[in-house]
Symmetry: C2
Subunit: 218 residues, 2 copies
DNA sequence: GCCACGATCAACCTTTTGGTTGATGCCCGG
DNA sequence: CCGGGCATCAACCAAAAGGTTGATCGTGGC
C-alpha cells in the first residue's frame, strides 16, 4: 500500500522541520511538500496534482505571519481552487479558541489538532484524515460539546459595532456622537453586551471579545 | 573542538523535534537534552551537570502550556539554581512584544530570537550565545533601537505589568490587590501611563499599547 | 394580530475612574 | 552629593461609567 502523502503548511521553518522529522519516523506517511503560507499551499497542491502525485492530506496551521491565512486557504482548497478532488485538511495549530475552531470547521476542515499534542495523536489524526474520517483533539472535542450544551448568546451586529468603537478607547459620549444615537442608548447597549459576555465593565468586555475573536484585533 | 551542547526547552513536542532536526544538521552543535517546561529544564541542567557534561546553551521558549514559564525559569537558571556556572539562555519564542522582551532581558537572557527566523539565523544565535555574546533577532534589535532613538513611549516594567492587568479587564481595586500595592498607587501609575501614551482613559491606553505592541494580545 | 426582540431614549442613583497636589524612599548617574 | 526618574501612598474633587426602571417604535415570526 502506498504511503499517505502529506502537504505541510506552516510559516515557521522550525515547526515544518519538526513535523517533517516526526512524520518521517512513522510508517506509511510521507511529506510530499511544504508551504509557508496559504497561497504557496494552493500552488503546491496544483503542482503535485499536475505531477500525478496529489497530496492525500493537508496539515495546515491557522496563524500565518504573512500571506493567506489558514482558514481562507482551507476554504479555497475545499472550493476546488487547487484541483479536484480536494484533499482533507487537518488543522494543526497552537490555539483552541471557539472562533478559530468554528471558522475552521465552517471552512471545511476535517480535523483540528493542537501543536502540543503527543506525536502518536498527530499520527492517528493524519491517518484518520487520509481515510476520510474526522479527528478532533480531546480538548477541542470537549470544548465543542460544552458549547452545544449551553450555547452562548450572540451579540447583535449593532452591539459588535459599538464594541469595536469601545475598543478604540472612545468614551460613551464620543461613541454616541459617532453613531448618531444618545449616550443613554450607548449605555443600554453596553449593559446588554456585558450581560451576554458575562462581564461588568468595558475593558473586560474587550478582553473577552478579543479572545473570542468577536471583534478584530489590531 | 567539542560540539556546543544545547538544552531545548519547549512545551510543544513538534517544536522540539524541529529544533532537534534543525540543529543536528549543523556542524558543531549537539542537542544534549530536552525539557517540556521550566521545572524540567532546571532538573535537566542539574542532571547534565552531575554527569560532567553540562549544557553550553539553553534554548528557551517563553510560553509554556503548564508548569514554570520561561521567564521564571531563566531567572532561576541565572540565579544558579541549576548549578554554577549558569549557561547562557537564548530565548526562542513566537512573539516580540515589548513586555516579553523586557521581562526576558531582565531575567538574564542573553539573546532573543523568533521562531519564524530562518535556520541559519538560529544557528548563528546559538553559536554567539555559546561564545558568551548576545544575539538579537533583527526585528527585536530594530525595536530596541527604535525605542532608544524615540524616547517617547518609555513605559517602565512596572507600568507594562500594570497595563497588562488593565487589559484583562480588572478594576483598580483588583489590580491593587493582585500587585500588593494600594489603589492610590495604581491610579498614579495609570496617570503616568496615560501621559506617556498620550491618552486619557484605560481603554484608549490598551488600544494604543496593543497597536504599538507594548503589550501582547490574542 | 400578537409577541419577542432589537434599537432607541430618559431619569435617577451608585460606583469607579480620572486629575491634582503633595509627600516619602530608593537608586542611579553626573 | 544632588537631581531625577521610579515606586509608593493619601486626600480630595470632578467626570465618566455602571445599574435600574420604564418607555416607545419597528420588524419578523407563529
Amino acid at each position: 500500500m502506498n504511503d499517505i502523502r502529506v502537504l505541510l503548511v506552516d510559516d515557521h521553518p522550525v515547526v515544518r522541520a519538526g513535523l517533517r522529522a516526526m512524520l518521517s519516523d512513522f510508517e506509511g506517511i510521507t511529506v510530499a511538500a511544504e508551504a509557508a503560507d496559504g497561497g504557496a499551499a494552493l500552488a503546491e497542491l496544483s503542482r503535485l496534482h499536475t505531477l500525478g502525485e496529489p497530496a492525500d492530506v493537508v496539515l495546515m496551521d491557522l496563524q500565518m505571519g504573512a500571506g493567506m491565512d489558514g482558514v481562507t486557504a482551507t476554504g479555497r482548497i475545499k472550493a476546488g481552487d487547487a484541483g479536484q478532488p480536494a484533499p482533507p485538511v487537518l488543522i494543526l495549530t497552537t490555539y483552541d479558541s471557539d472562533a478559530d475552531i468554528l471558522a475552521a470547521v465552517e471552512a471545511g476542515a476535517s480535523g483540528y489538532m493542537l501543536k502540543d499534542a503527543p506525536p502518536e495523536q498527530i499520527r492517528q489524526a493524519v491517518v484518520a484524515a487520509a481515510a476520510g474520517q474526522t479527528a478532533l483533539a480531546p480538548e477541542v472535542a470537549a470544548r465543542l460539546l460544552g458549547r452545544i450544551r449551553n450555547p452562548e448568546p450572540a451579540l447583535s451586529a449593532r452591539e459588535i459595532q459599538l464594541l469595536e468603537l469601545v475598543a478604540t478607547g472612545l468614551g460613551n459620549r464620543a461613541i454616541a456622537r459617532q453613531l448618531f444615537i444618545s449616550e443613554a442608548t450607548v449605555k443600554t447597549h453596553l449593559v446588554h453586551i456585558y450581560g451576554k459576555l458575562g462581564v461588568d465593565n468595558r475593558t473586560a468586555a474587550i478582553s473577552v471579545a478579543t479572545q473570542r475573536r468577536i471583534i478584530r484585533r489590531f
